[in-house]
């Protein structure tokens, strides 16, 4: 048993920290601390900054332009990025499509697509969920019918995150209605400029805009755009669900959010005293912090074991559930800390001129509401419990 990082790992951490210090602007840090939506430009600039150091595609092998990090290095990188309030890397191309192509793509697909993800030529988004099939992916209805060398796609996708910034979408579509529902699904890549595609914004409950509906009407896509075999998209979908594990618990982001919460508690007062010395409130903060400490170790245990298969599914589902519970608990406490100052709708005007709350906390309530998504999107916590159940009972 040794919970310490090696000297090399510590050196790597120092290198990352220095890079972030040198390259992350105060403006971006302020936006991140204030939970502001980043612009497309903000995100593209940050991607480019990382790519300049070859650190953008953290999970990719060296020959395809990744840094070739192991799981521990990636973890250290994630931790430092969170601690520095760096923007999160947009995962759809780098963390999702990239690994899929690396495993299932043809050489042509890899050669054509991967470089364009790295250099920012393409911004990918995800076409998985449908209005009638959220967590139950196998029941998806969007159809791709073969017509010569093309598929004709008809249907609707939803919850497409940052689709408004994207020029490409990868989709699960139904290419056959025979057999089990999972059996007739294929994974295809679609250019969002193709005629027949319409993207409509979905406004989230707190007022923000980050997800979209995507409508497909007779959209013609070359069969060559399929990744993997026809009707075998389910394998890819499952691979994606369990592949991206290093940051599923969100330990770094929660650690940062907890630090902000504690600073906030020292700034606001209740009954004439700083909230940070109120035992009832701080007991909740302390227990949340303890849970987070434990999860940090759980996360390291998983990294270290580098488990595969069934057990990996269980652990990553556990981290997803507990990680979201902890993050949502921090959000809840941060909103509460503000008292009635949490009430104003956090418009630019309110934050800029009215300063009802400490400015970096003005979006706490909005962030609380927005982060209710964490336990719903990407496989709801209920679905995660079902997955764990199956593994527990060996079914």
């Amino acid at each position: 048993m040794d919970l310490n990082f090696t000297a090399e790992e510590d050196a790597f951490r120092a290198e990352v920290r220095q890079f972030l210090k040198d390259n992350l602007s105060d403006e971006i840090v302020a936006k991140m601390r204030g939970m502001e939506e980043l612009t497309k430009e903000d995100l593209e600039n940050w991607h480019a900054t990382l790519q300049s150091r070859n650190w953008l595609a953290a999970g990719w092998p060296v020959q395809h332009g990744g840094p070739g990090w192991n799981a521990t290095q990636r973890h250290i990188f994630d931790e430092e990025c969170s601690a520095a309030n760096a923007p999160r890397i947009v995962p759809f191309g780098l963390g999702m499509l990239g690994p899929v192509l690396l495993k299932f793509g043809t050489e042509e697909q890899k050669a054509e697509i991967l470089p364009r993800i790295l250099d920012g030529s393409d911004w990918w988004c995800q076409g998985y969920s449908e209005p009638g099939a959220g967590s139950d992916l196998a029941s998806l209805k969007t159809k791709a019918e073969r017509d010569g060398d093309d598929y004709i796609i008809n249907g609707q996708k939803t919850w497409t995150t940052l689709g408004q910034f994207a020029n490409k979408i990868f989709c699960l579509v139904r290419t056959s209605s025979e057999g089990k529902p999972q059996e007739g699904i294929s994974f295809v890549l679609v250019d969002l400029d193709t005629p027949g595609i319409e993207m409509r914004p979905i406004r989230l409950l707190e007022g923000g805009y980050e997800v979209n509906e995507v409508f497909f009407t007779d959209v013609r896509v070359p069969v060559a755009n399929r990744v993997g075999e026809e009707n075998e998209g389910w394998t890819i979908a499952k691979y994606l669900l369990t592949h991206e594990r290093t940051n599923i618990a969100g330990v770094g982001a929660s650690t940062q959010a907890l630090a902000e919460l504690k600073m906030l508690a020292a700034k606001v007062s209740r009954k004439g005293k700083p909230l940070s010395i109120d035992p009832i409130f701080m007991a909740k903060v302390a227990e949340t912090e303890i849970d987070l400490e434990a999860m940090r170790i759980t996360n390291l245990r998983m990294l270290s074991a580098d488990a595969t298969g069934r057990e990996a599914g269980t652990v990553s589902s556990m981290l997803k559930i507990k990680g979201t519970v902890i993050r949502q608990s921090i959000n809840d406490l941060a909103r509460r800390a503000l008292g009635p100052a949490a009430c104003p709708f956090p418009s630019e005007e309110v934050i800029g001129n009215l300063a009802v709350a400490p400015p970096e906390a003005a979006r706490n309530a909005a962030d609380y509401f927005n982060n209710r998504k964490l336990s719903i999107f990407g496989g709801s916590n209920e679905i995660q419990r079902n997955i764990i159940t199956k593994n527990l009972f060996g079914a």
Partner: protein
């Protein structure tokens, strides 16, 4: 013992419910709630006509209600209809004007011809009146006020603002004309309007130099109102979840058949009944000596139940519960945010522990 409301209260409850259902649908609501003046002035007049403001003070005071259950039935319906009108701020003002015998103001508010708001919160005085820092300069007719009052509910659309401020004898109540101060209105995140009120040598009329008792009573009336509003909201959310579970299919069957969801629906339904009960108890105590204890207890339970119901309602809806377009998400948002008004779950817990130990 009798747990049925009087005929009069049932009537106002029924007519308010019908009015909001017919005239204040969710789309109109969401428009009114987020665009200045963050409510619908036309509907305000109609609500006044329905008598919902008169119901908030006693006959002696110019109304026709004024007891705990009058406030409760009105606000339960406002909750059920997710009404963003500034009734809370006007309730506080009405109770204060009425307690001070300011008949003219009371009549105008009841008639819907004037609106008022009460400025209590300061940045370092969220709930505890002892911490209020703004101090009245001068006395009698020549009083000025300086400082900032924060998150004044309905302050953006008020014709009169009552300001709670310190003076030599304790806490006083002062009236200002909004035009004499800087009133910066905004929407609340759950809709409806509030304002920052910035006072700088603002001329004020002294209504009372020793108003602590009536201020506490008015705030407790406001807390009761929020609790009752929460019950109306929770009933809607339970029914919405129930309907959604029956209608939504997953893995080939309605998700209402998933036992894990069933049991969670049961657990939060139980908390809704607990919430209803504690509001009944608190309403019965609004004029009693142990009012403050019972109100604090009620708002603590409502805070806990409300959080459970709101979060479960969003979660059990899945993605759709996260959207602006779906009505239930706004109900959930209001349910969460009303906890922050006039002292939240923990504030009320501290208060009830202090009062029970006293």
């Amino acid at each position: 013992m009798d747990f049925t409301h009087t005929e009069d209260r049932r009537m106002i409850s029924d007519s308010l419910r019908r009015y909001l259902a017919d005239q204040y649908g969710i789309e109109h609501r969401n428009q009114a709630a987020y665009e200045a003046p963050f409510h619908d002035t036309g509907k305000w007049a109609e609500l006044a006509e329905l008598g919902i403001l008169g119901a908030l003070v006693t006959e002696d005071q110019g109304g026709f209600g004024g007891h705990g259950f009058d406030i409760a039935v009105v606000f339960e319906e406002l909750g059920r209809g997710l009404c963003p009108e500034p009734v809370l701020g006007n309730l506080l003002a009405l109770r204060l004007y009425a307690a001070l015998g300011q008949t003219e103001r009371v009549d105008a508010i009841i008639a819907g011809t004037a609106r008022a708001a009460v400025a209590v919160h300061e940045t370092d005085a969220f709930v505890d009146l002892d911490e209020i820092a703004i101090t009245a300069n001068g006395s009698g007719d020549s009083v000025t006020l300086t400082g900032r009052k924060s998150v004044v509910y309905g302050g953006n659309s008020a014709d009169h603002i009552l300001v709670v401020a310190k003076n030599a004898s304790g806490l006083g109540l002062y009236e200002i004309a909004p035009g004499d101060a800087e009133v910066m209105g905004y929407a609340m995140i759950d809709g409806g309007g509030a304002a920052e009120v910035i006072l700088e040598n603002t001329q004020a009329t002294t209504l009372s130099e020793d108003a602590r008792g009536i201020i506490e009573a008015a705030l407790d009336a406001g807390r009761l109102a929020l609790c009752a509003e929460a019950v109306g909201i929770m009933d809607v959310l339970r029914d919405t979840v129930k309907d959604y579970l029956l209608q939504r299919q997953q893995f080939g069957r309605p998700i209402a058949l998933f036992q894990a969801l069933q049991h969670r629906l049961v657990d939060f339904s139980i908390e809704i009944e607990q919430a209803r009960s504690i509001v009944i108890l608190a309403a019965s105590k609004l004029d009693a000596e142990d009012r403050a204890l019972h109100i604090a207890r009620a708002k603590n339970l409502i805070g806990r139940a409300g959080k459970l119901v709101a979060e479960e309602a969003i979660q059990m809806h899945g993605g759709i519960g996260m959207t602006w377009e779906y009505g239930a998400s706004h109900y959930a948002k209001r349910l969460i945010m009303l906890d922050a008004q006039l002292g939240d779950t923990e504030d009320q817990l501290r208060t009830s522990m202090e009062l029970a130990a006293a």
